[in-house]
Structures are given as structure tokens and as C-alpha cells.
Amino acid sequence: MVPISYYLVLSGILFACGVTGFLIKRNIISIFMSIELMLNGVNLSFVAFAAQWHALSGQIFVFFVMVVAAAEAAVGLAIIIAVYRTRETLNIDQVDLLKL
Amino acid sequence: MQERGRDDLTSVGGPVLSAVEGTRALLRNNALNITTFIIVSLIKTVLALFVLLTAVAYTVWLERKVVGHMQNRWGPTRVGPFGLLQPLADGVKFLFKEDLTPPHVYKPLYIAAPMIAVIFALTSIAVIPVGNSITLGSLHIPLQITDVNIGLLIILGVTSLGVYGVALAGWSSNSKYSLLGGLRASAQMISYEISLGLSLVGVLMLTGSFSLRDIVDTQGGTFWGFIPRWNIFYGGQFIAFFIYLISAYAETNRIPFDLPEAETELVAGYHTEYSAMKFAMFFMAEYANMITVAAVASLLFLGGWHGPVVGPPILRALLPVFWFVLRIFGFLFVYIWVRGTLPRFRYDQLMAFGWKFLLPLAIANLLVTALVVALRA
């Protein structure tokens, strides 16, 4: 018997970790992973709420989030590859110009 | 207290899927106590692992023997009659070989990679049923470590994690050949997993369940008098079966898709830098994966363990297992046969084949099956 709030706390901390990573990481790929971490935190809260309210919509939502995350990962990583090809770096500080 | 205990009993299984489902099933059937359950599960697990590992070893022997005969050779003959003890000798050799770790590797991942590969390869056996249940006194034991209602999904999930072993081995070896092998492997496995998954969806539509036992149960009997109601015939999943076959070859890195370890191009691909037991682990993982893939093919397309059953009760219980093993053996034989026959694809051809041919074909098959199912309903 685990209180539902425990799950929420866990999801909150995961989300906070994601935000922190987004702020302190300097490698594009790591930053991208932090975003995934945030999404995962949110997913957990969705599932937890679904369990709380006995409604499956929460799980369906998670399903959508995952699909979108997969699509996002494909595009995002493609962009990273393209950026790396032109700039030869993955450091976010050196990719701050729109044009070379 | 009794209520409470049972409740806790249920929750024991939570993480370990097997326990949850197994407990439920057992509780439903016989109201066994927890000790019996654990003991039975343990015995089953140990037995399954033992059988699987032996099967892995003898698949290697079988491959060497069959390919040998296809190529005018004898294969192993020296160790034991017909070289039957060869796997044992190989195992001993691997154990006592010096375990080299090259100085330039990234050690934690270098060591972890083969373990990841072998663990995920062995895990999927947990949800594969090998036959009906047997009854020992009051015990009613299904021949399966655990019957989960998302069994197929678990197999897909676990095999999709197997790619980490290969990819990390390639990366952590810090060698160019390994890296290329790892890159090839991960790209190939991701690509072909999609076709593999899609080829299974047709069967799922026909059955309406993820549980492997349910899937097999629907394939019993015959139609038109003599043709067995296997999915490959009755369900019209002929094309799906071949898509599965091809994708499975690619998933297990076997010729003609053995690019990640193509020895004439990449020396040995992702396991170039591995030796001794670590190498043996990759080897075991590859063959365990082959067996899993063969088992899934038998369950989903070839009617699982259905076959003529006669004789006393114990034979009635064990004959299905024999039929099932026979199918796996047949599938493995095709694996070996293909290895003796075909050359290897080139990397871009492999990708093009997967994305431009196999995937559209799988989708088309899916649409047709969906239409048939919809019209039948």
C-alpha cells in the first residue's frame, strides 16, 4: 500500500532533475536527455493519477507522450547530427549563432 | 491476517512479473501456499536455464556438424562420439583461457557489455511456454516459468534491450572495427525490429491476446479436414512468417545479415577485442537469441506444441514438448542451412532492404489481415 503522493513526489523530483540537467548541462545530447527525463517524470505522474482516479485515460496519455517523444528524439538527433556536421562541436555554448 | 498475507503475497510479485502472474494463476487454481509456489518457480527457472544453456551449447555443435556436412567436412569428431562432448570442451577452454582486457578500453562498460547481452538473451525464456501443464499429485504445474498476459510484449522489450550489449561492446572497446560493428549492429537492430514487430501484429489481431499460451491455444485442430490450424496456414500469415524469418535473421546478426561481425570486413565487429569468457558470453547470447526467436516463431506461426498425442498420461504431457522442440529444431536447421548457402549483404543494401522492402510488405500484410479480421467479425 503506497500512498499515491509518493509517486507524485518521485515524479516531481525526476522533473526537477530534468530541469536542473537542462540548465547545467553543456552537451547538446545531455541536454536532450534531460528533456527526456522531464517527460518521464510527467509520465509517472500521469500513470499515478490514472491509478488514483481509476481512469485509463492517463495511461493513454502516457502512450501519446511516448510516441511524441520518440518522434522528437528522431528529429532532435537528426538536428544534432546536422549541427555536428557543420560546427564540429556538441558544446551548446559554441552553437549559439544562427549562422556561421 | 490471512487476508493480509495473501494481499502481500500478491504484491511480492509486482516487480518480478512472473511472481504476480504466476501467483495469481496458482491461487486461482489450487490455492497453494507461498512456499510451494516459490519452490516450484525456482525449480522451473533452474531447469529452464539449464535446458536453455545446454541447448545453446548443442546448437553450436549442431551448426558445426550440419554446416560441416554441407561443406564436405565432418565437423567435430574427436571429442566424444560424433564430437558430442565438443561443447563441453569448448566451454572448458573458454573458462581457462586468459581473460585479456586491452589497455585502451573503457573498462566498466567493456566488462558490463557481454553480461548485458547474455542476461537479456536469457531472460526472455521466462515467458515462453513449452507445453501444456502437467499434474504431479495435487500440483498442477504449467510448463512455463510464468504466464503473463503481455508475454509477447515482454519478449519484444527484452530483445530490444539486447542491442545495448552489442552497441556498448562496440563503443567501449575503443577500437575502430568494434565501433563500426557496434554502429552497424544498432542501426540494423533498430531497423529490423520494426518489421519484426509488425509481422507479429497480424497474429495478434487474429488471436486478440498478448499471452503466448492463448496464442498457441487458438491454433489447435485442423481445417478442411487435414491442414493444421496454424497461423501460417489458417490465419494466412504466410507472408508475415517470412517477414519474421528475415527480420529474425537480422535481429540475431546471422548470415546473410551478419554485418556487425562480418569477419572479412570488420575483423570480428563488435567483439574484436573480446576473449575468453567475455567472448563466450556474446556467443551464448547469439545462440540463446536464435533459440528464443525460433521458439517465438513456433509459438506464433507454427502452432506451438500442437501435434498428435497418444499413450499414457505422462506421454500425453510430454509429447507436446517434443513437438515444440521439433519445430524449434526445424527453425534452427533453416538458420544453419541459410548460413551454408548465402553470401552477405552490404550495409546500405541491408538498410534499403529493411526500410524499402520489408517494412512496406509488413504494413501491407497488416492491412490485409486487418481487413480479413474485420470482415470475419
Binding site: 503522493s5 509518493y6 525526476l14 532533475c17 527525463l37 556538441l90 | 503481455i150 519484444l156 565501433l179 525490429e193
Partner: protein, 172 residues
């Protein structure tokens, strides 16, 4: 009781993974930590009774998305990241934002503990039910998502292919 222990164990594993993601400087270590996070989250989903979501979590997230990450890290041979000072804006708004978020979490923790509990497998997320919901109540979003995925795949192919060579042959 066991339920709680399992929750705590995998919760802790999950958090350890998340923190490790932040601490590690090499992207591949971060990626593997994220895989651990996802794996333990899948177990948490199981605890919540969402079997299907757990399986999909493993297949899609751990099995596909993260493999893609690892693949790209290997492909670009990304090295250790160089720590530099983050942007001022991030520090100015990010840190307070973090603090507020944590405070919120703390408040929830203190206020709401024990209000409601959930038993293992309380809500069986059977694939059949989920499928039914997806193709009835959520048909439109489902179709929209599939189009989105299609566009994303095409976009990824276009972006990743070399502009000069033929290519576009591998999506990953």
C-alpha cells in the same frame, strides 16, 4: 509492506539514475543512467498496474529512443563535455524555478501524505481495454499522432542525410 519496499527500492534506483545523469560528464554514461531510470520507471508502472504502459516504456523508450541516443553518441564519438558557466538567464530564472518546484513538491508531500493509497495491480491496464479506448475515444488524437510521427520520420531522414551524397538510406 513488500509493495512499499519495492517502490522505495526502484524509486531510489530511479533517483540515483537521474542524479547520475546530472553528475556524469560523459554523454554515454548519462545515456545509460537514463536507461536505468526508464527501466525502474517501468517497474513503477507495473506497481501501478499499468502493464501495457510498462511494456511500451521498455520497448519504445529503453529499446528504441535510448538506443538511438547511444547510436548518435557513438556515431559522433562525443567526448567528455566541457563544463562552462551557464547562461545568466538560466541561473536567474532556473534556480528560483527549481526552488519553487521543490517547495511545491515538499508541500504536497507534507499536506497530502496518506490521503489515498494504491495497491499493486489496482487498475489492470489490460492491453485490450487500452486498445479499445485508443481506437474509440481517442481515435482523432491517435491519427494526428501517427501523422506527426510520419512527418518526424521524413524530417529526420532529410536532416540526417548528407546534402551532397546520395544517402538518406539510414534513418538512424
Amino acid at each position: 509492506m513488500t509493495h512499499l519496499i519495492i517502490f522505495l527500492f526502484f524509486g531510489a534506483l530511479c533517483l540515483a539514475g537521474a542524479v547520475n545523469l546530472l553528475v556524469q560528464r560523459h554523454p554515454i554514461n548519462s545515456a545509460l543512467s537514463l536507461v536505468v531510470v526508464m527501466g525502474s520507471l517501468a517497474v513503477e508502472y507495473l506497481l501501478l498496474g499499468a502493464e501495457f504502459v510498462a511494456a511500451v516504456q521498455v520497448i519504445v523508450y529503453a529499446g528504441a529512443v535510448m538506443v538511438l541516443f547511444v547510436f548518435v553518441i557513438m556515431l559522433l564519438n562525443a567526448g567528455e563535455e566541457v563544463r562552462t558557466k551557464g547562461s545568466r538567464v538560466a541561473m536567474l530564472f532556473g534556480i528560483p524555478g527549481m526552488l519553487v518546484g521543490s517547495a511545491l513538491v515538499g508541500w504536497v508531500l507534507i499536506e497530502r501524505t496518506g490521503s489515498q493509497t494504491v495497491a499493486a495491480g489496482a487498475l489492470p491496464g489490460a492491453p485490450r481495454t487500452i486498445g479499445w479506448l485508443l481506437f474509440h475515444n481517442f481515435l482523432l488524437p491517435f491519427e494526428v499522432t501517427s501523422i506527426l510521427v510520419l512527418i518526424a520520420i521524413m524530417g529526420a531522414v532529410v536532416l540526417a542525410s548528407h546534402p551532397d551524397t546520395d544517402s538518406g538510406k539510414k534513418k538512424s
